[in-house]
Amino acid sequence: MIEITNFDGTRVEKVLTEEEQGMMIEEVWENANPTSSFAAQTLPVDVSDATLVMIDFAFATTDRSTRYVHTGIVGAFNIFYFPTSLMGNGLVGMACRGLTPRIGNRNIEFRDGLLKGANQTTPTTNNTYCIPMRIYKCKL
C-alpha cells in the first residue's frame, strides 16, 4: 500500500499491482554463525515464487569483510567462482563453492568449498572458504 499525492493536492492510497511494484528483493536466509565451516549441504529455502536468487558470500571464515554477491537462476545449476587474487606472475588463485550447485524451488544445494592456489594444478576441499552469509530472492 502506498500513498499517492495527486496534482490537485489530494491524497489517495493505492495498492500496487505486481507489475507496478517492480523488482522485489526479500532476504530469506542468514548465516547465524559465519565463523564456522560450511560443508556441502542442502538449505531448505523456499524460492519457488522467485526468478533470481542472490547469495552474499564471504571470502572466508577469517575474512568476512571481503564479499562477493552472486546471482543465480532458480531452477538451474549455477556456477559460483570467487577469484582470490591475481598473483604477480599472472596466475590467479581461486576459491569456489563447488561446481554447479542447484537452486531448486524449495532448496539450494551447496557443494564443498574448494581452494586452489595460483601454483596448484588441482583445487583442494576447504569449507572455510566461500561462506554463504545471506540469501535473497528476487521477484521481477
Binding site: V28, W29, E30, N31, A32, N33, T35, S36, S37, F38, A39, Q41, L43, P44, V45, D46, N119, T124, T125, N127, P132
Partner: protein, 96 residues
C-alpha cells in the same frame, strides 16, 4: 529484549551443517536458544558438533594433513631428463 533463537540445518547423523535465525527456519529444523561454543577455534566451530536428543555433542571433524609442498621445478627437470633418455635427444637442463 528477547534473544534471537536459532534454527539448525542438520546432516543425517545429527551433524550441524549450518545455523540460521528462527525467522528463516524451515519445517522440521530444530529451534535452539544458543549455539555451541568453547574456548578454542575448533570448539567455536559449530560444524564440529552433532545435535542429538536436544543436546550438543562435541565430535570434531578430522582435519586433513597438510600437503607436502610440490617441487615443480624438480618435477619438470625430471620429466625433461626422462624425455631425453627415451628419445635420445640431448635436452639441456639447469645445473644445480
Amino acid at each position: 529484549m528477547d534473544e534471537r533463537k536459532y534454527a539448525l540445518n542438520l546432516g543425517e547423523d545429527g551433524r550441524i551443517l549450518s545455523a540460521t535465525y528462527e525467522e528463516y527456519a524451515a519445517e522440521g529444523m530444530p529451534i535452539v536458544e544458543s549455539l555451541p561454543a568453547g574456548e578454542t577455534a575448533e570448539e567455536n566451530d559449530i560444524s564440529n558438533y552433532r545435535y542429538v536428543d536436544g543436546k550438543y555433542v562435541y565430535d570434531p571433524i578430522p582435519q586433513p594433513e597438510p600437503e607436502e609442498p610440490v617441487d615443480r621445478l624438480g618435477q619438470l627437470e625430471a620429466d625433461v631428463m626422462y624425455l631425453s633418455m627415451m628419445t635420445g635427444v640431448d635436452i639441456p637442463t639447469s645445473e644445480v
